[in-house]
């Protein structure tokens, strides 16, 4: 990923600061609308950085995840006025106005917070991320590597999952039209091959790292991590904007 846009040129830590700013604001805001616009701003940044199209599948996944989260929570809150009942006449599956609002907030907040991650990943080569963590934040190399590697595996896993789904569907495996429990059990034919392959890959990776003398001594890196004027500008405006927005919304 050579410098396609200004997002690619920023120091990885600058983008982490931006993520943290978004997370802070997501916690500060207590109304759905501001959070929605916060989320929109994240997507706008992705658009300016020319990676929106690339991260769209990840965003879609996050939306689904947030929706599931919403569904799990929304039935658990019984304060407030009942607006809807799944099985009329009984108390089963009732949704209240308080619950609806709280869960919408929760889901949107999660969405806004997590949406920065794909933007970060799409615009930062993993190596740069590690170097920045190790040099600027003094994180031990192994931990930085672990973090970055696990994040980097997500797209690979996505690809693999889609292959697994196709392989099982080709054996007449139907994912649609089952009840909730069956649907949950139905994940097994998909999750198991994925898990087994991941374990296999982790083993292969450990071996290939060891055979290349991983952990044999102090390491050096070819490129060092530097902050440029642009970084300093972006970081200060992120901090300033967050502070201002936080103060405004808390009053």
């Amino acid at each position: 990923m050579p410098g396609k846009s200004f997002l690619h040129k920023l120091n990885p830590l600058t983008k982490v600061v931006w993520s943290l700013a978004v997370i802070t604001l997501a916690f500060v805001y207590q109304q759905p609308l501001p959070i929605l616009s916060l989320w929109a701003s994240v997507l706008a940044v992705a658009l300016i950085g020319k990676v929106l199209r690339e991260i769209l599948p990840a965003i879609r996944g996050l939306i689904i995840f947030a929706a599931i989260f919403f569904l799990f929570q929304v039935f658990l809150i019984d304060e407030g006025q009942v607006v809807f009942t799944l099985v009329p006449g009984t108390g089963i599956g009732r949704i209240t106005d308080v619950g609806l609002k709280a869960c919408t907030m929760l889901a949107l907040r999660m969405l806004a917070m997590t949406s920065t991650i794909p933007v970060l990943l799409a615009t930062t080569p993993p190596k740069d991320m590690i170097v920045a963590f190790v040099e600027k934040l003094k994180v031990p190399y192994v931990y930085a590597l672990m973090l970055v590697t696990s994040l980097r595996f997500i797209p690979t896993l996505q690809e693999e999952l889609s292959l697994v789904i196709q392989a099982q569907r080709a054996r007449a495996y139907d994912l649609e039209g089952r009840n909730i429990i069956k649907r949950f059990l139905a994940l097994i034919p998909l999750a198991l091959p994925l898990l087994l392959m991941s374990v296999q890959r982790a083993r292969t990776m450990a071996i290939s790292m060891e055979t290349r003398a991983f952990g044999a001594g102090p390491r050096t890196s070819l490129h060092t991590s530097t902050f440029q004027l642009l970084d300093i500008g972006v970081i200060s405006s992120c901090l300033l904007l967050t502070a201002v927005l936080a103060v405004v919304s808390l009053h």
């Binding site: 080709a170 054996r171 007449a172 139907d174």
Partner: protein
């Protein structure tokens, strides 16, 4: 059996993988699909069993339009063997793994057991029915995957590079198996990068290049078009290249395999003194 009418396919990211393909495959044919990496072979196969739906044009499988049919429904007719068996294997024994497909088709009891036994026998896995498939070799796992498709008794077998990552012997064994299944009446579509295998086993070849159908015809005819093949990075088997000059001079009849060439040479030399001693037997 399979009719493709001007099919196009574009991936959601806007990549045009197939650009207007038409062909007709009759029941009982053995067709190889060849072309360089990224030519669209896998995409084409996935369209055949409905995993992907054409963005334009249509595909009929035995009269059934893949765009309207469910994948589970098409799985009865079209068995798909993926490149990597590990994408599908997840049950603790070979027996259960083979039963997965037929169970999804709603089979139970004795019928189900028969299907499993027949499929295991067809690929020579009967002694391994109670083994954990994860502990078998790559070639054996590939056969588990093949058997699990056979257990659904599809008319058409679609195989995506079934021999990659295997040694010559194991690859040949899988191909012999496929040949046997073909002789038993299955229509076979095979993607392969191994031109020797294609020449040896397939009857007809489709050549794909950048999403277009470049050639379609009997294997011998297709391999004679070196110019077109070169454009998509393919090279005919060495034995065909070796025999070509002699063939053009009318000295040999067209051949596809080493064995055929050997027989041809022997026949051509017959009559000359001690012909067999010139060539090591």
């Amino acid at each position: 059996m399979i009719r493709a009418e001007n099919i196009h396919f574009t991936y959601p990211n806007g990549f045009q993988a197939l650009k207007g393909l038409s062909f007709h495959i009759k029941a009982g044919e053995f067709v190889a699909v060849i072309g360089q990496n990224g030519a669209g072979k896998t995409t084409l196969l996935k369209l055949l069993n409905g995993l992907l739906k054409p963005t334009a044009g249509r595909i009929l499988i035995g009269g059934l339009d893949t765009a309207r049919a469910r994948v589970a429904e098409l799985a009865r007719k079209v068995g798909f063997l993926f490149q990597n068996p590990d994408h599908q294997i997840f049950l603790p024994t070979v027996r259960e793994e083979l039963a997965f497909g037929p169970k999804n088709l709603g089979l139970k009891g004795a019928v189900l057991e028969d299907r499993v036994k027949d499929a295991a026998a067809a690929v020579g896995l009967t002694p391994y029915l109670d083994f954990n498939p994860r502990q078998l070799s790559k070639g054996q796992r590939q056969r588990v995957a093949l058997a699990s498709v056979l257990a659904m008794q599809p008319e058409v077998l679609v195989l995506d590079e079934p021999t990659t990552g295997q040694d010559y012997r194991e690859a040949l064994e899988i191909m012999r198996l496929v040949k046997k299944l073909h002789q038993q009446g299955h229509t076979v579509l095979l993607v392969s990068h191994d031109m020797e295998m294609v020449a040896r086993f397939a009857g007809r070849a489709l050549v794909l290049g950048e999403g277009q159908l470049l050639l379609d015809g009997p294997v011998a005819t297709v391999f004679a078009r070196e110019d077109v093949l070169a454009a998509t990075g393919l090279v005919p088997p060495q034995v065909i290249q070796l025999a070509r000059p002699y063939q053009e001079q009318g000295l040999l009849r067209p051949v596809l395999t080493v064995e055929e060439l050997y027989a041809e040479i022997i026949a051509a030399l017959r009559g000359e003194v001690d012909a067999r001693q010139v060539l090591p037997a």
